[in-house]
Symmetry: C2
Subunit: 186 residues, 2 copies
DNA sequence: TGATCCATGTAAGGAGTTACATGATTAA
DNA sequence: TTAATCATGTAACTCCTTACATGGATCA
């Protein structure tokens, strides 16, 4: 229902092929919207049929030829329409939270390793975000004085990712303390 | 792939009918895993066929009869197996983040109302969580001195929800400031 | 010589959403 | 008397995941 729009945003930020989009959905925009290459190719077909995107065949010597997609005027219109629509409640899926509640009916201590693993993943992602922030938005980089809306907004979204990871790391500390408190004798 | 398990956890916390489960998925466990009644009835059928849950027909005078489901021994086993499986990366869907990045290609100021609406929803949910925390885990409530693992873990999950809402409210303040900065002349 | 990267797809199946359907009771 | 609550379901459809498929170029 909105993968189309995530693709529009990504292609507006930089035109590219289905393959390149699939790679971006493994990082960058992929931290806020996931999609596999199968999904992406299918949706690109539909978007092309709807006239939201234009295709350009790019021949390459050493690599397979690719189709470079870019957003058409009609695609930009579709984005504008979507931006005005209120977001309807997103379906939530916090599997770890369900497991934590479920642990009460099994051995709570058995969850500790898994929670620690998640915390490591969040620490890694936080480090990755912070490195990206230094690289793309580091101090002394705005020399032009020009306010680029795209960059500002990408940075705002990145700050959200950073805040989210920090919150998760702190909360998982809390969860680990709780799990350990439930088996004080070991 | 895991709605079954969310239902197991909910039924272990308290047996109930499909209708009651659907209501719980609108609150409580529903804040961490959503499902509609159609989905729930379908999955309950499958879980019953797999022997994960037992049914008991409950006749009611004033209201329609209902089927009360409870978790069987085999269901408890299935939960234990699931708890030991590592969680695979969840598919993320932060539509608002995609919209914020997309706003660079339209009028960023047009998003302000929507972001404010979201912030209100997060404030409401925070208030709701805090009220629930006072009600269910308020100070001077653990008089029995008994450590109930289920309650402790439910509280830990609730604290996660509270931390999440607080983080979102703060981040959306940041986003609003950014959006307003991008149109300094109005 | 085997793995990884680039590049694009098809097919099958499972999960989730939306619409439709019924019918009694109770509160405004 | 209209709407909401309780209670259970079917049907159609879309969305998403997993598996399969191909084939050249590059690197260890």
């Amino acid at each position: 229902m909105a993968l189309e729009h995530a693709i529009l945003v990504s292609l507006l930020e930089k035109p590219g092929s289905g393959y390149e989009l699939a790679r971006r959905f493994e990082r960058s925009i992929g931290y806020f919207w996931t999609a596999t290459h199968q999904q992406i190719y299918r949706v690109l077909k539909r978007m092309e049929a709807d006239g939201w995107i234009d295709v350009r065949e790019v021949e390459q010597k050493t690599r397979p030829d690719k189709k470079e997609y870019s957003v058409s005027a009609r695609g930009l219109d579709a984005l504008a329409v979507w931006l005005q629509e209120p977001i309807q409640p997103e379906s939530v899926r916090h599997e770890l939270a369900v497991k934590i509640r479920g642990a009460a009916f099994d051995d709570p201590a058995a969850l500790i390793d898994e929670v620690e693993r998640h915390q490591r993943m969040h620490r890694d992602r936080l480090a990755h975000y912070l490195a990206g922030e230094r690289r793309d938005f580091g101090a002394g980089d705005g020399g032009s004085g020009e306010l680029d809306a795209g960059r500002e907004l990408q940075h705002a979204v990145l700050r959200g990712g950073i805040a989210y990871e920090r919150m998760m790391i702190a909360w998982l500390d809390d969860v680990l303390a709780t799990l350990r408190r439930l088996r004080p004798g070991r």
